[in-house]
Symmetry: C2
Subunit: 419 residues, 2 copies
């Protein structure tokens, strides 16, 4: 990656600290991913992307910026990519999944806060993530107390525009969310100097829907017994979805799916236990749970998380003759996401029960990032619903450190023996 | 309290557990409050109220219910009492401050959650708080993730109506809050069978404003050097404000203030350090911090908390000829409260700096209930602002247990020596 040093320097990266990070990721990737047996060839593209994470993609962003395009950092599946894309800007998901950034994050935020928030805050103030440095604007949202208040800290380093997500799903909340999307349009028109048109927005909706469809195709293949792809590889693809070029990403997911279609035809029987993960997101490079589970006699076949089904389920309706029509379609689609930030959020239980059937799940792990109140409180109703349906479930609450990995492994082993 | 057992039994109280609680409170009250030297005579009323907490007041509520009035439980200074009062219902603040309920709360909620939420949840499911049992409806709000999701748990035991508080203070958020108040009116009209009128609402606004004015009068007296009343006694009065009969409460606060006016004239010099507490609320019987501080050579002279200034600052404008006008006034007043649930929330810093001057404060303690994200994240900007103004500040994060009391005492001693 030596040819990128000049670019990083220009981006004001802390090169020394960044070198440490750049050294750690490939080692980690090697031991977790490359050691998998019989990986699909189509994963080569995604391997390349993750190993070039701070190189080639950043170069693309910087070149786009030279040509006048804007780069927008986001942190949540509720921020409508369609608006960003339609205004010819580039959307980059900035949620962070490495322990590397926690220490710096804890200098600006309380220790007993979700590691995802501490990590992205640490990455920004540490100047060790070129995506942050490349962003012209960050878009935050009010999905949880931690994020909502972290924007105030982050805003001291980079401009943050905050969208106020409703807390319920009544009729007026849909209207309120439409208003928020309209305000975002105004903000981004101003930033990009471009004007939103029906045609541009329709094209952007089509692009984002095609991306959702490609991921849905991948996930549908995981419903097969055995799944033609590991949970680890699927998770990696979901994580890459947040920052890769959308057209190229779609092409490569579909190419991989063609290969997986063939695998399904020749799939041998497997006695691996099929696991659903439900709960909080797993941002790159948080592979901890999948790594533990898939090193045992089990495979993760579906993630009911923001780096899983919540990201791609439900397409945006493409019918409509005005921007208002399309914004309504966007609001309708985005508020279908069953995040624990809503009260009530019974749709999530329906989703989990449906996936348990569709994906032939043997057991569910309710995964929570430490100190995430909303998902932690939902745990009891999730467990109750699953038990009533005779689906085994266990709760794992953890952060990015590896200190508890042994203990988690032991607990999951016991769980797998029981199911 | 033996003459109340029949009433408690009818309310389905767990009598055995409740006996333990009824035994503990007077002992605690005795050792913390009664041991204070030279207490104002006017405190006798409040002593009586707190010692009759599960007796006489509950009897009043039950008698009111027999006469067809409704009792409404609330948990937050954002729920507009004026609407409840105007519809001839009785508003009771249900936030709970005792370690007694934590264990039960932790059976229904995650352990790493704010003790206030765990305590009121525990009190409800334990059936050891007659206020919960006496309530016809609970009104929750979306001020924090913990509460927002706890309503879902609590709703299984008692009907909860949730008001969606905006997360920001833009123009449209004021409109949104007006809508929420209008929806509350509809809900409570239905529950009470009463119809809101301009006249009734004006009278209720007047009553609540007079209550605010009485508390403001008390707090203004605390600005004197030395304060004619202890922080402990003032806190107790603020806590009682949430559940006592408003007219009687106003009368007794004013009577006490008359006495304090006299005391001010004869006040001797004092070398006690004057402390402001800022942060999270202290629900009854959470007297931990004040007890620790005032057993040292210091006095708490102001609380920038929900059981302090946030409860009574800013009156509701009484001008207006329609319900709409008055609801607008309500929304305007309530959204003036500078709670950490808003982003941004810079008004809180202004408040704290202003109080530091007005109350002649020597130092500030930023008090946080454990796991309260919003206040914990604001701590860094509060500390920065205070330090820039040369006002000493320390952070204390704690729960309801007494385990850390010794350690907190040592830290505060060191802080007092330094300032």
């Amino acid at each position: 990656m030596d040819n990128y040093r000049e670019m990083w320097e220009k981006l004001n990266i802390d090169l020394e600290r960044h070198d440490q990070l750049c050294k750690a990721i490939p080692q980690m990737y090697e031991s977790i991913f490359v050691s998998q047996k019989d990986r699909p060839k189509g994963m080569n593209y995604f391997s390349f992307v993750v190993l070039e994470i701070h190189g080639l993609r950043i170069k693309e962003l910087e070149e786009a910026r030279k040509n006048g395009r804007k780069v927008i950092g986001t942190f949540c599946v509720f921020v409508p990519d369609e608006i960003i894309v339609a205004l010819d800007a580039i959307s980059i998901g900035l949620c962070a999944g490495s322990q590397f950034w926690i220490e710096s994050g804890e200098r600006a935020l309380p220790k007993n806060l979700c590691p995802l928030i501490k990590a992205f805050t640490g990455a920004l103030i540490d100047r060790t993530c070129p995506y942050f440095m490349s962003c012209d604007l960050l878009i935050g949202e009010t999905t949880c107390d931690g994020k909502k208040k972290a924007w105030e800290v982050i805003n001291k380093y980079k401009p943050v525009y905050v969208m106020d997500l409703p807390q319920m799903k009544r009729k007026k909340d849909f209207n309120m969310w439409r208003e928020e999307i309209n305000q975002l349009i105004e903000k981004l028109e101003e930033l990009t100097g471009n004007k939103l048109t029906v045609d541009k927005l329709k094209k952007a909706i089509d692009l984002c829907n095609r991306k959702r469809r490609a991921l849905k195709r991948l996930y549908d293949l995981r419903k097969m017994k055995p799944s033609p792809i590991s949970g680890l590889d699927s998770l990696l693809i979901s994580q890459i979805a947040f920052y890769d070029d959308p057209e190229r990403f779609i092409e490569n997911v579909n190419k991989l799916c063609d290969e997986l279609d063939e695998r399904v035809k020749t799939g041998k029987k497997s006695d691996k236990k099929r696991i659903m993960i439900t709960g909080t997101p797993m941002a790159l490079p948080n592979w901890k749970m999948h790594d533990i589970i898939e090193k045992l006699n089990a495979e993760v076949v579906v993630e009911e998380t923001c780096t899983g089904t919540r990201y791609f389920e439900n397409e945006v309706c493409e019918d409509g003759e005005t921007i208002d029509d399309l914004v309504k379609n966007l609001a309708d689609r985005y508020l279908k996401v069953n995040c624990a930030c809503f009260t009530p959020n019974e749709g999530r239980i329906d989703d989990i029960l449906r996936y348990a059937k569709e994906y032939n799940v043997d057991g569910v792990i309710d995964y929570g990032l430490s100190f995430c109140h909303t998902y932690a409180i939902e745990d009891s109703s999730i467990q109750k619903a699953l038990k009533e349906n005779n689906i085994p479930v266990m709760r794992v609450e953890t952060d990015y450190s590896t200190e508890d990995s042994g203990q988690i492994k032991t607990r999951i082993e016991a769980f797998l023996e029981m199911i």
